[in-house]
């Protein structure tokens, strides 16, 4: 697998050759050989201890169920997984080539570290978390600033701010939604009539996002399967009963949370109360009710926040949570032992989000192959083989746009490229069909999605018709058919072709020149982009 001088030469040729004319200026699209950002050395040690204990837990489970785990996945497959899970896109050819400069055994860890410090990753994770925190609605005009909120979250993630501090701001911050972006957590629920944040929606949101409990249905009645009572829901909602919104932003006055009963009759003011572990709730009446609630939520003796966060981060990495649904963990009974282990480590580490991601991504189970001849659904259920899950629209959009370029698309790209990518991706996601808040929908894809991928202009522009599509560059720059096919596979599927594939597609290109050759390479891109392998995580 070692990179040959010839490969390097090929990359250098592309770097030199792939230039784009924008607004009359020639700009190099590939900076790789000129100014490579060295893949970060492993600065922050991988949390070995927790990884070993999680590994041992899964080994025990597999042994007791008589399941043999799959082999370790090829390193490029893990690299692709990491890019999709943490950046919402696939690695560029530029990045793959650079990784190949490193010794084989260090590539995955180096890649993980690089991604964890990449703005693209912070932006992508912020978007994913934002869905959990403020939903997907546009929210009230002017008083809800989604972009401000996501940027704030992205900055916090990039700085690896402790997650409990982020959560505390979300629940308890005061002020204007522009200067204090965390307050958008409240303003998104502002009711048009009362012009105040809605305590019920905030209680339901808090329960799901921070406690891993779906209290929503306890809003109207006691929970049918779980021990949640309507009174507990109202108690939680009452923490937001003092919150108002005026020209100075979100602030708290007297609690006057008075829910109405089913007949529309207003009940007396409800006092704030937590649904469990009441002994952890600070009694000090000096603090605002929201500050007290925040204290209680982030208290390390209250494991709820750590558990639900671990389950969600696991789901982001695997495409499937450890416990389903992702935001409704059992109130009592067995939790997956790996979830408990990781949750304890997460809170003990001071809610270090980066450490948590690093730990999960370093486990044996994350690095298993998705292929294994004997693997059936029971293997997938026990995580003995890497699950095959449908990629989210954003991930497919990110991947489609990345296939259109040989260099890395990201914050360092030219503004015009970023502009095209940003708008194009949004347009793509709209047409592909956003899954809304239902983050981990396991069901099959749709006909419009396939039509979009087969015939859509967005895809066509990337592979053939647009400005400087990757296929034309390959046609121009690849020294021979074999290298063209190999590069196309690396660009689109992050792997090399099998011998059968190589033979087949080299045959397709044989003897072609000029536009005909460009078309044939575009056809190859089309085929790879329309494969199951491209649209599903594996």
């Amino acid at each position: 697998m070692r990179i040959s001088m010839r490969d390097l030469g090929f990359l250098a040729a592309m770097a030199a050759g792939a230039a784009v004319v924008v607004g009359g200026m020639v700009r190099p699209m590939i900076r790789a050989s000129a100014s490579p950002t060295p893949a970060r050395s492993v600065a922050e040690p991988c949390p070995d201890d927790i990884v070993k204990r999680v590994d041992a837990t899964f080994r025990r489970i597999w042994a007791s169920e008589g399941l043999a785990p799959a082999a370790r996945a090829p390193e490029r497959a893990i690299v692709r997984r990491l890019s999709l899970a943490l950046c919402g896109t696939i690695p560029s050819l530029e990045e793959i080539r650079r990784l190949e400069d490193l010794p084989e055994e260090r590539r995955v860890d180096a890649w993980l570290e690089q991604i964890l410090h990449d703005r693209r990753s912070a932006d992508y994770l912020a978007e994913r978390f934002a869905r959990v925190l403020v939903g997907t609605e546009d929210g009230p005009f002017l008083k809800f600033r989604r972009r401000r909120f996501v940027t704030w979250l992205s900055d916090a993630i990039l700085a690896n701010r402790p997650y409990d501090a982020i959560v505390r701001d979300l629940i308890a911050d005061r002020g204007l939604w522009t200067d204090h972006p965390a307050t958008n957590f409240l303003t998104v629920t502002i009711d048009e009539k009362t012009e105040r944040p809605t305590p019920e929606r905030l209680a339901a949101r808090t329960a799901r996002a921070f406690l891993g409990v779906r209290l929503d249905c306890a809003q109207c009645h006691d929970h049918p399967f779980q021990p949640w009572k309507q009174a507990q829901f109202r108690g939680l909602a009452a923490f937001f009963g003092a919150s108002h919104c005026d020209l100075r932003g979100i602030r708290d006055t007297e609690n006057d949370y008075r829910p109405t009963d089913r007949k529309g009759k207003e009940l007396p003011t409800i006092e704030p109360d937590v649904p469990f572990l009441p002994e952890l709730l600070p009694t000090s009446s000096a603090a605002s009710p929201r500050a007290r609630l925040a204290d209680w939520v982030v208290d390390r003796r209250n494991s709820a926040l750590a558990r639900v966060t671990v389950n969600r981060v696991w789901a982001l990495l695997f495409g499937r949570p450890l416990a389903e649904p992702v935001d409704d963990l059992p109130a009592s009974g067995e939790l997956h032992p790996a979830l408990t282990l990781l949750a304890d480590d997460f809170s003990a580490s001071g809610y270090d989000l980066r450490r948590l991601i690093r730990a999960i991504a370093s486990t044996e189970v994350f690095r298993l192959d998705s292929a294994d001849n004997d693997a059936g659904l029971e293997h997938e259920a026990a995580w003995a083989v890497f699950p095959i899950t449908r990629l989210r629209p954003e991930q497919v959009a990110g991947a489609v746009f990345q296939t259109g370029a040989l260099s890395t698309l990201g914050p360092d790209s030219h503004w015009f490229t970023r502009f095209l990518v940003y708008n194009g991706r949004n347009d793509f996601v709209r047409r592909y069909g956003d899954t809304g808040e239902d983050e981990f929908d396991v069901r099959a894809g749709t006909i419009p999605q396939r039509l979009l991928m087969m015939n859509g202009k967005i895809v066509r522009d990337r592979i053939e018709d647009g400005l400087f599509p990757a296929s034309s560059n390959l046609a121009r720059l690849a020294p021979d058919d074999r290298q063209a096919v190999e590069a196309a596979y690396l660009v689109v599927l992050t792997r090399r072709p099998t011998d059968e594939e190589l033979g087949h597609f080299v045959g397709r290109l044989a003897g072609s020149t000029g536009d005909d050759r460009k078309h044939r390479i575009a056809d190859l891109f089309w085929t790879l982009i329309n494969s199951t392998e491209f649209s599903w995580n594996h």
Binding site: D216, D441, A444, G445, I447, L452, N455, S531, T532
Partner: protein, 419 residues
Amino acid sequence: MPRTAFPTIDRRGFLALASTGWLTPISRLLADQAESNRRPAQSIILLWLDGGPSQLETFDPHPDTRIAGGTRAIQTAARGIQLAQGYEQLADQMGQVALIRSMVSKEGDHERGTYLMKTGYRPDPTVEYASIGAICCHELPVGQTDIPRHISILSGRWPSRGGYLGAEYDAFQVGDPRGELPDVVSTISADRQKARVADLEVVERAFGRGRLGRVTATHHRETIARARTMMTSEQLRAFDVSREPAEVRGEYGETPFGRGCLAARRLIEVGVRCVEVTLGGWDTHVNNHAIHATRAKELDPAFAALLRDLARRELLDRTVVLCGGEFGRTPKINPLGGRDHWPGGFSLAIAGGGLRGGQAIGETDPEGIKEPARPMTIEDVHATILTVLGLDPARENTAPATGRPIKLSAGRPIRDLLG
């Protein structure tokens, strides 16, 4: 109102008698027969007025009151029912149309209101509810339809979704029927297409190695095959309104919305279950009256032509036409001559599907102060529509992951509408 089956027997009369329980056996038999011969409706056309139209300038005028702000009313074919000026063509069709003038909801935000009106449920972050079109596609047989059975023409910001039923029930979004269908036509030669698809086999074989069962379970290739069937389906011609005679096109109006309504009729003829056609521009916080006058010029001819055309083709009884937006607008006119959001008493128009037309249900206060008389909810409207489609609103589907049972509609059919 014309009926396609058993025109001589008044089903409603028979049912009323039957429920009293003293029918003779022979008349009971006749009543049963009338019931079973009445074919249920099979499609829905939703004329979605995106932005929230003013009830006062459309279906619920209060002429010569303070809240009218000068809007005048016109007489219609239905005695005692007036429409706002600008709906002269629809006025002639009022015998077929029922107005619900006392719609109330708790959602005054565009997105949340749209969600409520289209799904019949308020937004709930723990479950994505399905729009009524998706439910209709899920519950009713597929038949011989190759093209998507749920279609959104000129989709607004929030087209109808499949929700918990799955993304395959999302409305397929298309633009002005005059233009090209998005993504459906391949721009490359048939030979190249064939080669591409053949090559896909090679890549699929490599990926399937060691994963075959689980890759098959993704249904990816099956979905591609179905998409390719659709690409070559003759039913796609239903989108092509240029195949209609010029006078028919003229009747609907040569506007995107008019063409959308005409395409909707063509689509239900090939078995599409639900077509949503969006007309935007109703969010009149400023200059309400002038803007509503321009909207009426598009809505009135298209809506009226659709009803006439469906009736001519004996399709009206088998098609429910629903027209409305996410809420109404304030009786009070603001300083900018606009009206603001008003979920507390607004109008919907409903026709076809064997529903009883020529009536207005509910009433709003001419002063714009008191709550409307006989308040109606969208849940009940959905339950009514499902009932005429032959579906039991109380039937439950199960949401994936949570296993939560969800009724097709939480409401109850509106008796006065059932014909």
